[in-house]
Amino acid sequence: MSRAIALIDGNSFYCSCERVFDPKLARVPVIVLSNNDGCAIARTAEAKALGIKMGDPFFKIREQCRRDGVRVFSSNYTLYGDMSARTNAVYRDFAPRVEIYSIDESFLDLSDVHPDLRIELARDLRATVRAWTGIPTCVGIGPTKTLAKLANHIAKSQPTLDGVCDLTDPVAYDHWLCRIAATEVWGIGRASAAKITAMGVDTVADLRDLDPRPVRKAMTVVGERIIHELRGLSCLPLELVPALRKGCAVTRSFSRRVEDRPTVEQAVAAHASRLGEKLRREGLGTDQLTVFYHTSTHDRGDPMRSVSTTVTLPEATNDSLVLIQAAQLGVARTWREAPGGRPWRYSKAGVITTDLMPLAASPRALIGQLDRERSGPLMAAMDACNSRFGRGTVVPARAGLADKRTWSTKFEMRSPRYTTQVSELPTAHA
Protein backbone atom coordinates (compact mmCIF):
# COMPACT_ATOMS: atom_id res chain seq x y z
CA MET A 1 0.00 0.00 0.00
CA SER A 2 1.20 3.53 -0.66
CA ARG A 3 3.03 5.52 1.97
CA ALA A 4 0.98 8.00 3.98
CA ILE A 5 2.24 10.42 6.60
CA ALA A 6 -0.02 12.64 8.67
CA LEU A 7 1.02 15.88 10.35
CA ILE A 8 -1.24 16.75 13.25
CA ASP A 9 -0.82 19.96 15.21
CA GLY A 10 -2.65 21.91 17.88
CA ASN A 11 -4.47 25.06 16.75
CA SER A 12 -2.91 28.08 18.54
CA PHE A 13 -1.57 25.38 20.85
CA TYR A 14 -0.43 27.47 23.84
CA CYS A 15 -3.66 29.51 23.79
CA SER A 16 -5.73 26.34 23.47
CA CYS A 17 -4.01 24.90 26.57
CA GLU A 18 -5.04 28.01 28.52
CA ARG A 19 -8.60 27.71 27.23
CA VAL A 20 -9.05 24.11 28.37
CA PHE A 21 -9.08 25.14 32.03
CA ASP A 22 -10.67 28.58 31.87
CA PRO A 23 -14.12 28.76 30.21
CA LYS A 24 -13.99 32.57 30.33
CA LEU A 25 -11.39 32.45 27.54
CA ALA A 26 -13.79 30.86 25.02
CA ARG A 27 -14.32 33.07 21.97
CA VAL A 28 -12.30 36.01 23.38
CA PRO A 29 -8.89 37.02 21.95
CA VAL A 30 -6.03 35.32 23.84
CA ILE A 31 -2.26 35.66 23.37
CA VAL A 32 0.73 33.99 25.05
CA LEU A 33 4.03 35.84 25.47
CA SER A 34 7.61 34.58 25.15
CA ASN A 35 10.11 34.40 28.04
CA ASN A 36 10.33 37.59 30.11
CA ASP A 37 6.96 38.55 28.63
CA GLY A 38 8.80 39.80 25.55
CA CYS A 39 6.60 39.25 22.51
CA ALA A 40 3.46 37.45 21.32
CA ILE A 41 4.25 33.84 20.36
CA ALA A 42 0.74 32.34 20.22
CA ARG A 43 -2.53 33.99 19.19
CA THR A 44 -6.08 32.76 18.89
CA ALA A 45 -8.04 33.46 15.71
CA GLU A 46 -9.76 36.37 17.54
CA ALA A 47 -6.37 37.92 18.38
CA LYS A 48 -5.13 37.46 14.80
CA ALA A 49 -8.28 39.21 13.58
CA LEU A 50 -7.32 42.22 15.72
CA GLY A 51 -4.08 42.47 13.72
CA ILE A 52 -1.74 41.14 16.41
CA LYS A 53 1.20 39.57 14.60
CA MET A 54 3.50 36.71 15.56
CA GLY A 55 6.48 38.23 17.39
CA ASP A 56 4.88 41.60 18.15
CA PRO A 57 6.73 43.05 21.19
CA PHE A 58 4.34 43.22 24.12
CA PHE A 59 5.22 46.81 25.06
CA LYS A 60 3.99 47.86 21.60
CA ILE A 61 0.61 46.11 21.83
CA ARG A 62 -0.02 46.45 25.59
CA GLU A 63 -2.37 49.42 25.07
CA GLN A 64 -4.28 47.69 22.27
CA CYS A 65 -4.66 44.54 24.40
CA ARG A 66 -6.19 46.56 27.22
CA ARG A 67 -8.51 48.40 24.85
CA ASP A 68 -9.68 45.34 22.92
CA GLY A 69 -9.97 43.02 25.92
CA VAL A 70 -7.20 40.65 24.82
CA ARG A 71 -6.36 38.14 27.57
CA VAL A 72 -2.57 38.02 27.89
CA PHE A 73 -0.57 35.15 29.44
CA SER A 74 3.10 34.53 30.21
CA SER A 75 4.24 31.21 28.80
CA ASN A 76 3.39 28.28 31.08
CA TYR A 77 5.70 25.64 29.62
CA THR A 78 4.94 23.21 32.44
CA LEU A 79 1.30 23.13 31.34
CA TYR A 80 2.05 23.12 27.59
CA GLY A 81 4.56 20.28 28.00
CA ASP A 82 2.06 18.15 29.94
CA MET A 83 -0.75 18.80 27.44
CA SER A 84 1.65 17.96 24.59
CA ALA A 85 2.49 14.62 26.24
CA ARG A 86 -1.24 13.89 26.58
CA THR A 87 -1.98 14.61 22.91
CA ASN A 88 0.94 12.41 21.84
CA ALA A 89 -0.37 9.59 24.03
CA VAL A 90 -3.64 9.79 22.07
CA TYR A 91 -1.78 9.85 18.72
CA ARG A 92 -0.02 6.61 19.71
CA ASP A 93 -3.42 4.93 20.08
CA PHE A 94 -4.07 5.73 16.41
CA ALA A 95 -0.71 5.19 14.71
CA PRO A 96 2.02 2.63 15.31
CA ARG A 97 4.81 5.11 14.58
CA VAL A 98 4.84 8.70 15.83
CA GLU A 99 7.57 11.30 15.40
CA ILE A 100 7.23 14.16 17.86
CA TYR A 101 8.41 17.05 15.71
CA SER A 102 7.86 19.92 18.13
CA ILE A 103 5.83 20.68 21.25
CA ASP A 104 2.64 20.96 19.17
CA GLU A 105 3.34 18.99 15.96
CA SER A 106 3.74 15.26 15.36
CA PHE A 107 4.13 13.12 12.25
CA LEU A 108 2.11 9.88 12.23
CA ASP A 109 2.69 6.94 9.90
CA LEU A 110 -0.69 6.02 8.38
CA SER A 111 0.70 3.79 5.59
CA ASP A 112 -1.13 0.76 7.00
CA VAL A 113 -4.50 2.50 6.78
CA HIS A 114 -6.50 1.88 3.59
CA PRO A 115 -6.55 5.04 1.42
CA ASP A 116 -10.37 5.23 1.58
CA LEU A 117 -10.31 5.20 5.38
CA ARG A 118 -7.59 7.79 6.03
CA ILE A 119 -9.89 10.82 6.16
CA GLU A 120 -12.28 8.98 8.46
CA LEU A 121 -9.41 8.00 10.78
CA ALA A 122 -8.12 11.58 10.80
CA ARG A 123 -11.58 12.88 11.75
CA ASP A 124 -11.85 10.30 14.51
CA LEU A 125 -8.36 11.27 15.75
CA ARG A 126 -9.24 14.97 15.85
CA ALA A 127 -12.48 14.29 17.68
CA THR A 128 -10.78 12.01 20.21
CA VAL A 129 -7.96 14.48 20.94
CA ARG A 130 -10.54 17.23 21.34
CA ALA A 131 -12.72 15.15 23.67
CA TRP A 132 -9.94 13.67 25.80
CA THR A 133 -7.60 16.65 26.12
CA GLY A 134 -9.70 19.65 25.03
CA ILE A 135 -7.14 20.61 22.37
CA PRO A 136 -8.43 21.44 18.84
CA THR A 137 -6.18 20.16 16.05
CA CYS A 138 -5.77 19.99 12.28
CA VAL A 139 -4.56 16.98 10.29
CA GLY A 140 -2.76 17.02 6.95
CA ILE A 141 -2.02 13.76 5.13
CA GLY A 142 0.43 13.25 2.28
CA PRO A 143 2.77 10.69 0.74
CA THR A 144 5.76 12.67 2.08
CA LYS A 145 6.46 14.88 5.09
CA THR A 146 6.56 18.01 2.91
CA LEU A 147 3.14 17.20 1.43
CA ALA A 148 1.74 16.31 4.88
CA LYS A 149 2.89 19.70 6.14
CA LEU A 150 1.33 21.40 3.11
CA ALA A 151 -1.91 19.44 3.62
CA ASN A 152 -1.94 20.60 7.25
CA HIS A 153 -1.63 24.21 6.09
CA ILE A 154 -4.55 23.69 3.68
CA ALA A 155 -6.65 22.03 6.41
CA LYS A 156 -6.02 25.06 8.65
CA SER A 157 -6.68 27.77 6.10
CA GLN A 158 -9.76 26.26 4.37
CA PRO A 159 -12.69 26.23 6.81
CA THR A 160 -14.79 24.01 4.51
CA LEU A 161 -12.37 21.10 5.02
CA ASP A 162 -13.27 20.77 8.70
CA GLY A 163 -9.64 20.48 9.79
CA VAL A 164 -8.59 17.53 7.62
CA CYS A 165 -6.89 17.49 4.20
CA ASP A 166 -5.60 14.34 2.45
CA LEU A 167 -3.15 14.90 -0.41
CA THR A 168 -2.63 11.15 -0.92
CA ASP A 169 -5.95 11.43 -2.74
CA PRO A 170 -4.96 12.27 -6.38
CA VAL A 171 -8.04 14.44 -6.89
CA ALA A 172 -7.27 16.61 -3.85
CA TYR A 173 -3.57 16.70 -4.84
CA ASP A 174 -4.34 18.06 -8.31
CA HIS A 175 -6.97 20.42 -6.95
CA TRP A 176 -4.88 22.10 -4.26
CA LEU A 177 -1.34 22.22 -5.64
CA CYS A 178 -2.26 24.74 -8.32
CA ARG A 179 -4.23 26.86 -5.83
CA ILE A 180 -1.71 27.31 -3.00
CA ALA A 181 1.22 29.75 -3.13
CA ALA A 182 4.62 28.08 -3.36
CA THR A 183 5.86 30.27 -0.50
CA GLU A 184 3.71 28.18 1.88
CA VAL A 185 5.85 25.11 1.26
CA TRP A 186 7.85 23.84 4.24
CA GLY A 187 11.49 24.89 3.89
CA ILE A 188 10.86 27.82 1.54
CA GLY A 189 12.12 30.77 3.55
CA ARG A 190 12.36 34.40 2.54
CA ALA A 191 15.62 33.97 0.59
CA SER A 192 14.46 30.94 -1.39
CA ALA A 193 11.06 32.56 -1.97
CA ALA A 194 12.80 35.35 -3.86
CA LYS A 195 14.82 32.80 -5.89
CA ILE A 196 11.83 30.70 -6.97
CA THR A 197 9.78 33.81 -7.78
CA ALA A 198 12.64 34.84 -10.09
CA MET A 199 12.31 31.40 -11.76
CA GLY A 200 8.68 32.22 -12.50
CA VAL A 201 7.18 30.06 -9.78
CA ASP A 202 3.82 31.10 -8.40
CA THR A 203 1.93 28.05 -7.10
CA VAL A 204 3.09 24.83 -5.44
CA ALA A 205 2.42 23.05 -8.76
CA ASP A 206 4.87 25.40 -10.53
CA LEU A 207 7.52 24.61 -7.92
CA ARG A 208 6.91 20.87 -8.24
CA ASP A 209 7.35 21.06 -12.03
CA LEU A 210 10.75 22.78 -11.88
CA ASP A 211 13.74 20.81 -13.17
CA PRO A 212 15.48 19.68 -9.96
CA ARG A 213 19.03 20.15 -11.28
CA PRO A 214 19.07 23.95 -11.68
CA VAL A 215 17.21 24.14 -8.37
CA ARG A 216 20.09 22.31 -6.68
CA LYS A 217 22.50 24.91 -8.09
CA ALA A 218 20.41 27.79 -6.74
CA MET A 219 19.12 26.33 -3.48
CA THR A 220 21.45 23.37 -2.70
CA VAL A 221 20.23 19.82 -2.18
CA VAL A 222 17.64 21.13 0.27
CA GLY A 223 15.79 22.85 -2.58
CA GLU A 224 16.10 19.76 -4.79
CA ARG A 225 14.72 17.60 -1.97
CA ILE A 226 11.64 19.84 -1.71
CA ILE A 227 10.87 19.25 -5.43
CA HIS A 228 11.15 15.47 -5.01
CA GLU A 229 9.01 15.51 -1.87
CA LEU A 230 6.32 17.57 -3.66
CA ARG A 231 6.29 14.91 -6.40
CA GLY A 232 5.58 12.29 -3.76
CA LEU A 233 9.11 10.87 -3.55
CA SER A 234 9.90 10.65 0.13
CA CYS A 235 13.33 12.02 1.12
CA LEU A 236 12.68 12.68 4.82
CA PRO A 237 12.02 9.51 6.83
CA LEU A 238 10.14 9.54 10.12
CA GLU A 239 12.58 10.03 12.97
CA LEU A 240 11.20 7.74 15.62
CA VAL A 241 14.19 7.94 17.93
CA PRO A 242 15.32 11.49 18.58
CA ALA A 243 18.83 12.03 17.20
CA LEU A 244 21.52 12.22 19.86
CA ARG A 245 21.84 15.80 20.94
CA LYS A 246 25.09 17.37 19.75
CA GLY A 247 24.94 20.57 21.73
CA CYS A 248 22.96 22.10 24.55
CA ALA A 249 22.50 25.63 25.81
CA VAL A 250 20.86 27.24 28.81
CA THR A 251 20.55 30.98 28.33
CA ARG A 252 18.16 33.46 29.92
CA SER A 253 17.52 37.17 29.87
CA PHE A 254 17.64 38.78 33.30
CA SER A 255 14.34 40.19 34.55
CA ARG A 256 16.26 43.45 35.19
CA ARG A 257 19.69 44.81 34.26
CA VAL A 258 22.47 43.31 36.39
CA GLU A 259 25.68 45.17 37.31
CA ASP A 260 27.29 43.15 40.12
CA ARG A 261 29.53 40.11 39.90
CA PRO A 262 27.80 37.95 42.57
CA THR A 263 24.53 38.07 40.62
CA VAL A 264 26.17 37.15 37.31
CA GLU A 265 28.01 34.33 39.10
CA GLN A 266 24.81 33.02 40.61
CA ALA A 267 23.02 33.19 37.25
CA VAL A 268 25.68 31.23 35.34
CA ALA A 269 25.84 28.74 38.23
CA ALA A 270 22.05 28.21 38.02
CA HIS A 271 22.29 27.81 34.23
CA ALA A 272 25.22 25.36 34.54
CA SER A 273 23.26 23.35 37.11
CA ARG A 274 20.26 23.18 34.77
CA LEU A 275 22.57 22.17 31.91
CA GLY A 276 23.90 19.30 34.05
CA GLU A 277 20.31 18.19 34.73
CA LYS A 278 19.50 18.14 30.99
CA LEU A 279 22.67 16.18 30.15
CA ARG A 280 22.04 13.63 32.93
CA ARG A 281 18.56 12.96 31.62
CA GLU A 282 20.08 11.78 28.34
CA GLY A 283 23.24 10.17 29.74
CA LEU A 284 25.42 12.72 27.96
CA GLY A 285 28.50 14.59 29.12
CA THR A 286 30.73 17.43 27.94
CA ASP A 287 34.35 18.40 28.47
CA GLN A 288 34.03 22.05 27.61
CA LEU A 289 31.68 24.82 28.65
CA THR A 290 31.25 28.20 26.99
CA VAL A 291 30.12 30.97 29.34
CA PHE A 292 28.75 34.26 28.06
CA TYR A 293 27.11 37.41 29.36
CA HIS A 294 26.39 40.68 27.65
CA THR A 295 24.68 44.07 27.78
CA SER A 296 21.61 44.82 25.66
CA THR A 297 21.63 46.46 22.26
CA HIS A 298 18.40 48.19 23.34
CA ASP A 299 20.30 50.26 25.94
CA ARG A 300 21.55 52.88 23.52
CA GLY A 301 24.07 55.27 25.02
CA ASP A 302 25.11 52.85 27.75
CA PRO A 303 28.56 51.26 27.60
CA MET A 304 28.42 47.96 25.72
CA ARG A 305 30.21 44.76 26.62
CA SER A 306 29.84 41.18 25.41
CA VAL A 307 31.92 38.41 26.91
CA SER A 308 32.31 34.79 25.91
CA THR A 309 34.93 32.31 27.07
CA THR A 310 35.32 28.55 26.87
CA VAL A 311 36.48 26.55 29.86
CA THR A 312 37.98 23.12 29.16
CA LEU A 313 37.57 20.27 31.64
CA PRO A 314 39.98 17.34 32.07
CA GLU A 315 37.28 14.87 30.93
CA ALA A 316 33.60 14.75 30.05
CA THR A 317 31.13 15.19 32.90
CA ASN A 318 27.52 16.02 33.64
CA ASP A 319 28.13 16.72 37.34
CA SER A 320 26.39 20.03 38.10
CA LEU A 321 29.00 20.89 40.73
CA VAL A 322 31.87 20.53 38.24
CA LEU A 323 29.96 22.49 35.57
CA ILE A 324 29.24 25.24 38.10
CA GLN A 325 32.95 25.50 38.94
CA ALA A 326 33.72 25.79 35.23
CA ALA A 327 31.05 28.48 34.78
CA GLN A 328 32.41 30.47 37.72
CA LEU A 329 35.93 30.19 36.32
CA GLY A 330 34.56 31.62 33.08
CA VAL A 331 33.22 34.65 34.94
CA ALA A 332 36.41 35.04 37.01
CA ARG A 333 38.49 35.11 33.82
CA THR A 334 36.41 37.75 32.12
CA TRP A 335 34.98 40.00 34.84
CA ARG A 336 36.12 43.62 34.66
CA GLU A 337 35.20 46.48 36.94
CA ALA A 338 34.07 49.33 34.71
CA PRO A 339 36.59 52.12 34.28
CA GLY A 340 35.34 55.49 35.47
CA GLY A 341 32.74 53.99 37.79
CA ARG A 342 29.98 53.61 35.18
CA PRO A 343 29.13 49.94 35.41
CA TRP A 344 28.11 47.74 32.52
CA ARG A 345 24.46 46.79 32.79
CA TYR A 346 24.20 43.16 31.72
CA SER A 347 20.93 41.87 30.22
CA LYS A 348 21.59 38.19 29.54
CA ALA A 349 23.85 35.31 30.55
CA GLY A 350 24.17 31.69 29.55
CA VAL A 351 26.20 28.51 29.20
CA ILE A 352 26.62 26.48 26.01
CA THR A 353 28.25 23.17 25.11
CA THR A 354 28.72 21.92 21.57
CA ASP A 355 30.56 18.60 21.88
CA LEU A 356 28.21 16.32 23.81
CA MET A 357 29.07 12.62 24.02
CA PRO A 358 27.53 9.62 25.77
CA LEU A 359 29.14 9.77 29.19
CA ALA A 360 29.57 6.02 29.63
CA ALA A 361 31.54 5.74 26.38
CA SER A 362 33.66 8.88 26.82
CA PRO A 363 37.41 8.45 27.30
CA ARG A 364 38.74 8.91 30.85
CA ALA A 365 41.44 11.45 31.59
CA LEU A 366 44.89 10.26 32.61
CA ILE A 367 45.44 13.33 34.75
CA GLY A 368 42.77 15.17 36.70
CA GLN A 369 40.20 12.39 36.57
CA LEU A 370 36.89 13.43 38.11
CA ASP A 371 35.27 11.31 40.80
CA ARG A 372 32.35 9.84 38.84
CA GLU A 373 31.80 7.09 41.38
CA ARG A 374 30.82 9.64 44.03
CA SER A 375 29.29 12.37 41.90
CA GLY A 376 27.02 10.00 39.95
CA PRO A 377 24.98 8.85 42.98
CA LEU A 378 24.96 12.37 44.45
CA MET A 379 23.51 13.85 41.25
CA ALA A 380 21.06 10.94 40.95
CA ALA A 381 19.84 11.64 44.49
CA MET A 382 19.47 15.37 43.75
CA ASP A 383 17.54 14.67 40.54
CA ALA A 384 15.31 12.18 42.37
CA CYS A 385 14.45 14.75 45.06
CA ASN A 386 13.66 17.38 42.45
CA SER A 387 11.57 14.96 40.43
CA ARG A 388 9.53 13.92 43.45
CA PHE A 389 9.20 17.17 45.37
CA GLY A 390 9.26 19.63 42.50
CA ARG A 391 11.94 21.36 40.53
CA GLY A 392 14.37 23.47 42.57
CA THR A 393 13.76 21.63 45.85
CA VAL A 394 17.46 20.75 46.10
CA VAL A 395 19.93 23.08 44.38
CA PRO A 396 23.68 23.58 44.56
CA ALA A 397 24.18 26.51 46.99
CA ARG A 398 26.01 28.56 44.37
CA ALA A 399 22.93 28.55 42.15
CA GLY A 400 20.77 30.08 44.90
CA LEU A 401 17.27 29.00 45.90
CA ALA A 402 14.89 29.45 42.99
CA ASP A 403 12.48 31.81 44.76
CA LYS A 404 15.33 33.98 46.12
CA ARG A 405 16.75 34.68 42.67
CA THR A 406 16.02 38.33 41.97
CA TRP A 407 17.23 38.11 38.38
CA SER A 408 15.11 35.19 37.15
CA THR A 409 13.14 35.45 33.97
CA LYS A 410 9.73 37.03 34.51
CA PHE A 411 6.50 35.11 34.04
CA GLU A 412 4.22 37.65 35.67
CA MET A 413 0.99 36.66 33.96
CA ARG A 414 1.47 32.89 34.07
CA SER A 415 -1.63 30.76 34.60
CA PRO A 416 -1.60 28.01 37.25
CA ARG A 417 0.19 24.74 36.45
CA TYR A 418 -3.23 23.09 36.38
CA THR A 419 -2.15 19.53 35.63
CA THR A 420 1.15 19.02 37.44
CA GLN A 421 0.97 20.85 40.79
CA VAL A 422 -1.39 19.66 43.52
CA SER A 423 -1.49 23.19 44.91
CA GLU A 424 -2.48 24.73 41.54
CA LEU A 425 -5.32 22.45 40.42
CA PRO A 426 -8.29 24.18 38.80
CA THR A 427 -11.41 24.68 40.95
CA ALA A 428 -14.96 23.60 40.18
CA HIS A 429 -17.84 25.01 42.22
CA ALA A 430 -20.33 22.70 43.80
Binding site: A131, G134, P377, A384, R388, V422, L425, P426, T427, H429
Partner: protein, 152 residues
Protein backbone atom coordinates in the same frame (compact mmCIF):
# COMPACT_ATOMS: atom_id res chain seq x y z
CA UNK B 1 15.15 8.70 58.47
CA UNK B 2 15.06 7.84 54.80
CA UNK B 3 18.46 7.54 53.14
CA UNK B 4 19.03 9.44 49.93
CA UNK B 5 19.19 6.29 47.86
CA UNK B 6 15.91 5.12 49.29
CA UNK B 7 14.44 8.47 48.31
CA UNK B 8 15.57 7.76 44.78
CA UNK B 9 13.91 4.36 44.82
CA UNK B 10 10.72 5.84 46.23
CA UNK B 11 10.71 8.65 43.71
CA UNK B 12 11.26 6.31 40.80
CA UNK B 13 8.39 4.16 41.94
CA UNK B 14 6.09 6.82 43.26
CA UNK B 15 6.00 8.81 40.08
CA UNK B 16 4.23 6.20 38.06
CA UNK B 17 2.36 3.91 40.35
CA UNK B 18 1.49 3.24 43.92
CA UNK B 19 1.75 -0.41 44.91
CA UNK B 20 -0.53 -1.58 47.62
CA UNK B 21 0.91 -4.86 48.76
CA UNK B 22 -1.59 -7.67 49.13
CA UNK B 23 -0.89 -9.51 52.33
CA UNK B 24 1.28 -12.28 50.99
CA UNK B 25 2.14 -15.69 52.32
CA UNK B 26 5.50 -15.96 53.95
CA UNK B 27 7.75 -18.56 52.37
CA UNK B 28 6.77 -21.90 53.90
CA UNK B 29 9.57 -24.23 54.80
CA UNK B 30 7.30 -27.26 55.20
CA UNK B 31 4.26 -27.44 52.94
CA UNK B 32 4.05 -25.35 49.77
CA UNK B 33 1.52 -22.54 50.12
CA UNK B 34 -1.89 -23.42 48.68
CA UNK B 35 -2.15 -19.75 47.63
CA UNK B 36 0.88 -19.87 45.35
CA UNK B 37 -1.11 -20.46 42.20
CA UNK B 38 -3.45 -17.59 43.00
CA UNK B 39 -0.97 -14.78 43.72
CA UNK B 40 -1.56 -11.86 41.39
CA UNK B 41 1.05 -9.36 42.54
CA UNK B 42 0.09 -6.05 44.05
CA UNK B 43 -2.82 -3.81 43.26
CA UNK B 44 -1.61 -1.01 41.01
CA UNK B 45 -3.76 1.87 42.18
CA UNK B 46 -3.30 4.41 39.39
CA UNK B 47 -3.91 1.91 36.60
CA UNK B 48 -7.06 0.78 38.33
CA UNK B 49 -8.32 4.24 39.21
CA UNK B 50 -6.97 5.98 36.14
CA UNK B 51 -7.36 3.65 33.17
CA UNK B 52 -6.86 6.51 30.70
CA UNK B 53 -4.16 8.92 31.94
CA UNK B 54 -4.06 11.32 28.95
CA UNK B 55 -7.78 12.08 29.45
CA UNK B 56 -7.68 12.31 33.24
CA UNK B 57 -7.58 15.61 35.16
CA UNK B 58 -7.98 16.55 38.83
CA UNK B 59 -10.18 19.40 40.03
CA UNK B 60 -10.53 21.06 43.43
CA UNK B 61 -14.09 21.15 44.72
CA UNK B 62 -15.37 24.27 46.40
CA UNK B 63 -18.87 24.33 47.89
CA UNK B 64 -21.51 22.04 49.34
CA UNK B 65 -24.14 21.59 46.65
CA UNK B 66 -23.07 17.99 45.93
CA UNK B 67 -23.23 16.79 49.54
CA UNK B 68 -25.84 14.09 48.85
CA UNK B 69 -23.61 12.65 46.11
CA UNK B 70 -20.84 12.28 48.69
CA UNK B 71 -18.77 15.17 47.31
CA UNK B 72 -17.81 17.77 49.89
CA UNK B 73 -16.11 21.13 50.02
CA UNK B 74 -12.30 20.80 49.47
CA UNK B 75 -12.50 17.28 48.04
CA UNK B 76 -10.74 16.46 44.78
CA UNK B 77 -12.73 15.32 41.76
CA UNK B 78 -10.90 13.14 39.25
CA UNK B 79 -12.39 13.70 35.82
CA UNK B 80 -12.04 11.29 32.90
CA UNK B 81 -12.82 13.13 29.70
CA UNK B 82 -12.98 9.88 27.72
CA UNK B 83 -16.17 8.82 29.56
CA UNK B 84 -19.45 9.57 27.80
CA UNK B 85 -21.81 11.57 30.00
CA UNK B 86 -25.14 9.83 30.54
CA UNK B 87 -28.18 10.06 32.78
CA UNK B 88 -26.92 10.09 36.36
CA UNK B 89 -23.29 11.01 35.59
CA UNK B 90 -21.60 13.44 37.94
CA UNK B 91 -20.00 15.98 35.62
CA UNK B 92 -17.79 19.05 35.64
CA UNK B 93 -19.50 21.60 33.40
CA UNK B 94 -18.82 25.14 32.27
CA UNK B 95 -21.90 27.23 33.00
CA UNK B 96 -21.74 30.91 32.08
CA UNK B 97 -17.96 30.89 32.26
CA UNK B 98 -17.86 29.16 35.66
CA UNK B 99 -16.77 25.59 36.23
CA UNK B 100 -19.10 23.60 38.44
CA UNK B 101 -19.88 20.05 39.50
CA UNK B 102 -23.43 18.80 38.92
CA UNK B 103 -25.46 15.63 38.46
CA UNK B 104 -26.59 15.17 34.86
CA UNK B 105 -30.24 14.13 34.52
CA UNK B 106 -31.54 13.26 31.06
CA UNK B 107 -35.25 12.77 30.49
CA UNK B 108 -36.15 12.40 26.84
CA UNK B 109 -34.62 15.37 25.07
CA UNK B 110 -34.29 17.43 28.20
CA UNK B 111 -30.99 17.62 30.03
CA UNK B 112 -30.80 18.94 33.56
CA UNK B 113 -27.78 19.73 35.68
CA UNK B 114 -28.94 19.14 39.21
CA UNK B 115 -27.58 19.98 42.63
CA UNK B 116 -27.33 17.10 45.05
CA UNK B 117 -28.35 18.93 48.14
CA UNK B 118 -31.91 18.60 49.43
CA UNK B 119 -31.95 22.31 50.30
CA UNK B 120 -31.34 23.41 46.71
CA UNK B 121 -33.54 23.23 43.59
CA UNK B 122 -32.57 21.56 40.30
CA UNK B 123 -31.99 23.77 37.31
CA UNK B 124 -31.83 22.71 33.70
CA UNK B 125 -29.02 23.20 31.23
CA UNK B 126 -31.04 25.24 28.74
CA UNK B 127 -32.04 27.69 31.44
CA UNK B 128 -28.39 28.67 31.66
CA UNK B 129 -27.24 31.08 28.95
CA UNK B 130 -24.42 28.74 28.05
CA UNK B 131 -23.53 25.33 29.35
CA UNK B 132 -21.02 22.73 28.23
CA UNK B 133 -20.02 19.47 29.85
CA UNK B 134 -16.25 19.43 30.44
CA UNK B 135 -15.92 15.87 31.64
CA UNK B 136 -17.32 13.05 33.73
CA UNK B 137 -16.19 12.64 37.34
CA UNK B 138 -14.82 9.10 37.68
CA UNK B 139 -14.24 9.32 41.43
CA UNK B 140 -13.57 11.84 44.14
CA UNK B 141 -10.93 11.96 46.84
CA UNK B 142 -11.55 12.96 50.42
CA UNK B 143 -8.83 13.09 53.01
CA UNK B 144 -9.52 11.84 56.47
CA UNK B 145 -6.42 13.43 57.92
CA UNK B 146 -6.62 17.18 58.44
CA UNK B 147 -5.30 19.18 55.46
CA UNK B 148 -3.31 16.26 54.15
CA UNK B 149 -4.43 17.09 50.65
CA UNK B 150 -1.81 19.71 49.96
CA UNK B 151 1.12 17.89 51.53
CA UNK B 152 2.97 15.45 49.37
Amino acid sequence: MVGLFQVEELARDGDTLVRVAIMGQALCAGFPSPADDFLEGSLELPRWLVPNPPATFAWNISGDSMRAAGIFDRDLAVVDRSLKPGNGSVVVAAIDGEMSVKRLRIEGTRAQLAFENPDLPAFSLDEAAEGEIWGVVRFSIRWHIARAGLVR
